[in-house]
């Protein structure tokens, strides 16, 4: 009883810390465009959302997917195609992209959750490579040229996304909305069962949970949010290319999540900002970018395995 009570108290305490952290993050993100280039911020937000979606699956479900680029990229292509060729307004284009990623996630999930560990990872990798080759060959994706000059258009008919700051507000809203959805999911009974499955799957089964249903749902949710990130990204950059479906993107999201802190709530956001900032601000160092990125990864794994936010949380004795 004492332990249980202690645990509840700790959760309550961490809950407060998380609310404070959320408010700080929101405040920073609202103030940021005054100092930092907004397009860069939007790119970082899209990747932060992508990393959060990935973290939902890996950090809380314990499922290592090496195929998440497929969801990001497919959604990007579908929403770019919908906005450019079909002339759909941006909100429908984003919804379309997200729906495509969700469906794809359902297919991937149904096949992949039958296996565990490395086999699960390999199945997702194989499936995402199939998606990559489809995108390379399909006429509508434009091969290695990608879909270019995607119109940003008017959201809901009256929000002009061609204004950079308006677009930033929309992207920030999408990000915060999806972030809260993930937060709610993790703290719901569903999230608790997911964590139980991660910790000890046979025990969860013996308690009567249909673990496959939970895993599939988590997988589809993660795919859908990755798709939301990809669809938003294609409107921000007005293009969709093979970069987003390439397997190295699946690797990058692992790097972001690990660097920020696996299984933490804010870690993937920090990790994504760090990686995107490196790619952006170190661009003039040419070949050194990838080397620096690799070195940081090695240092992170060797010295602070919990990631930036994980270590910070340990110092503050709060789950962030």
């Amino acid at each position: 009883m004492t332990t249980l009570h202690g645990a509840t108290a700790a959760t309550g305490d961490s809950g407060r810390a998380q609310i404070v952290a959320f408010l700080i993050m929101t405040g920073l993100l609202i103030a940021a465009p005054a100092v930092i280039y907004p397009i860069f911020l939007m790119k970082a937000l899209c990747f932060a959302l992508f990393a959060c979606a990935f973290n939902l699956l890996l950090g809380f479900g314990g499922l290592v997917s090496f195929g998440h680029a497929a969801f990001l990229g497919t959604a990007g292509y579908v929403s770019a195609h919908a906005a450019k060729e079909w002339g759909l307004p941006p909100e429908l284009a984003i919804l379309g992209g997200t729906a495509a990623a969700t469906l794809l996630g359902l297919v991937f999930g149904l096949i992949a959750i039958r296996r565990q560990g490395i086999y699960f990872a390999m199945v997702t990798l194989a499936l995402s490579q199939m998606v990559y080759f489809y995108c390379l060959q399909a006429p509508f994706t434009g091969g290695e040229d990608g879909i270019q000059a995607v119109p940003r258009g008017m959201m809901f008919g009256f929000i002009d996304l061609r204004q950079t700051m308006t677009l930033y507000a929309v992207v920030l809203t999408i990000f915060l909305g999806a972030f809260l959805l993930i937060y709610r999911t993790i703290h719901s009974p569903f999230g608790q069962v997911l964590k139980a499955i991660r910790e000890n799957e046979p025990r969860a089964i013996s308690l009567g949970y249909r673990v496959d249903h939970y895993k599939l749902l988590a997988f589809v949710l993660s795919a859908a949010i990755s798709g939301l990130a990809g669809a938003t990204k294609s409107l921000v950059f007005q293009l969709a290319t093979l970069t987003d479906v390439h397997w190295s993107m699946s690797g990058e999201v692992v790097l972001m999540t690990l660097l920020g802190g696996l299984g933490t709530i804010f870690g993937p956001v920090v990790g994504a900002f760090v990686i995107v900032a490196m790619q952006n601000y170190l661009a003039q160092f040419g070949a050194w970018v990838t080397i620096i990125q690799g070195a940081i990864f090695v240092i992170c794994v060797l010295l602070f395995r919990r990631g930036i936010i994980g270590e910070l949380g340990r110092v503050l004795k709060k789950a962030l």
């Binding site: 280039y37 397009i39 860069f40 790119k43 390379l136 060959q137 006429p139 434009g142 091969g143 290695e144 040229d145 990608g146 270019q148 000059a149 990204k233 950059f237 007005q238 293009l239 290319t241 093979l242 970069t243 987003d244 790619q279 952006n280 661009a283 003039q284 160092f285 040419g286 070949a287 050194w288 970018v289 990838t290």
Partner: protein, 404 residues
């Protein structure tokens, strides 16, 4: 080494002499070299393009006329989103007036759209896609050195005319490869040649043996390589192992650069035929440029892309100076189109309304090791394709700018 070169660039950036003239926006001209600094196109563009741009600025003597010119550079990592982010940031925050080079058609098409939107100038030397002066043409873009149509046409046309009338295609199985194969095949057929067959191979293929054996068995005189980068060099290497060139067949590369030939070495690459816009060992002016360039570039000699960057920046600076302003990208490009081009590397030329720079193209054959007299002495000229025939006719390009 790289860092040293970056510092060198930074130093060049500061070579402002005297005060900047008031008419240039933000106190001077700022040139952004957006290129591949770390991956497969590094040697054929990359840091060499930054160097070429710097040499063009130095040779123009513009600093002596109190106009400040800065050069910045960045790596797009062959990712369209990284390239597009850099281009936007350069235009919005860093006040870059013109972006040059940009190999990788995907990135170039993205920068093409952003330059149009922000009314800046985009001078393409590295990218190949002929869409840049076709359906995607822009009043802010000039495509300088070469394009896919010119390569396919030059190689296809000249080879058939010099006796290579039967072809077999080895094609990378994706949009770019299909386009190259389609364009070249059309040229071959038009000139009375025939296509004995074709085979598609997957992208980034490691083993070409079965494809090469089919090509060998086809008895075609020419094996056309409708692929790029690593696929081309792999195919050439393995063809040498099968003794295909020694057996009397010739390989025709559709996208080959001087640095590729250097990497392959003459014993492997000999007999390869392809089209380029510029070669360092063609006249004294080119040789002088190459000597200065290679001395500052680890001995790597300039490719046609480097020469194109030099030529484009030279013409840009001339036009901006004549216009006395760099603020309006469309006006600068219009001025560049209206003025005939002239520089030491490409000689006299013109720029068409669709943004296509026009000059002669050349069909080269790689020398046998015995013919090569000096390091980097790799090509012999097989034919000159006159400027009038070298590029796609305006009417076939479907460029919206040319329909009024």
């Amino acid at each position: 080494m790289t860092i040293k070169r970056m510092l060198g660039t930074a130093a060049a950036v500061l070579m402002a002499a005297g005060t900047a003239q008031a008419q240039m926006s933000d106190g001077g001209i700022k040139i952004g070299v957006l290129s591949d600094m770390s991956s497969l196109y590094t040697d054929l563009s990359g840091a060499g393009s930054v160097l070429a741009a710097r040499m063009a600025v130095e040779d123009s003597g513009i600093a002596g006329r109190s106009i400040k010119v800065e050069i910045v550079s960045a790596d797009h990592q062959n990712k369209a989103d990284v390239g597009s982010n850099t281009a936007r940031q350069w235009y919005d925050v860093d006040k870059v007036d013109v972006i040059v080079d940009t190999p990788n058609s995907g990135v170039a098409l993205a920068v093409n759209e952003i330059s149009r939107e922000k009314n800046k100038v985009f001078l393409v030397s590295g990218a190949a896609s002929s869409d840049l002066t076709g359906s995607k043409c822009s009043p802010n873009t000039i495509h300088w050195t070469y394009d896919t149509w010119a390569l396919a046409n030059g190689t296809g046309n000249a080879i058939v005319k010099t006796g290579g009338d039967s072809w077999y295609f080895l094609t990378a199985d994706y949009a770019f490869g299909h386009a190259l194969e389609r364009d070249t095949e059309a040229v071959v057929l038009k000139n009375g040649g025939k296509v004995n067959g074709k085979v598609r191979h997957p992208l980034n293929n490691a083993d070409f043996s079965s494809f090469l054996l089919q090509a060998q068995a086809s008895k075609a005189k020419i094996i056309g390589l409708a692929n790029a980068g690593g696929d081309t060099t792999n195919a050439i290497k393995q063809a040498a192992e099968f003794g295909i060139v020694k057996g009397g067949q010739n390989l025709a590369g559709l996208l080959v650069f001087l640095t590729d030939v250097h990497g392959l070495g003459l014993p492997t690459a000999q007999g390869l035929i392809f089209t380029e816009a510029w070669y360092w060992d063609m006249n004294d002016a080119n040789r002088a440029f190459a000597k200065k360039f290679s001395a500052a570039n680890r001995g790597i000699h300039p490719t046609m892309i480097h020469a194109g960057v030099y030529s484009a920046v030279t013409h840009y600076l001339k036009s901006v100076e004549a216009l006395k302003s760099d603020a309006d990208g469309k006006a600068v490009v219009a001025r560049m189109k209206a003025t005939p081009t002239e520089d030491t590397l490409f000689g006299k030329g013109t720029i068409r309304a669709d943004g296509r720079k026009i000059h002669d193209m050349y069909l080269f054959e790689v020398k046998a090791p015995a013919e090569s007299k000096a390091p980097w002495d790799y090509y012999k000229l097989r034919a000159t394709i006159p400027a009038a025939d070298a590029f796609r006719p305006v009417a076939d390009g479907n460029c919206p700018l040319t329909k009024s």
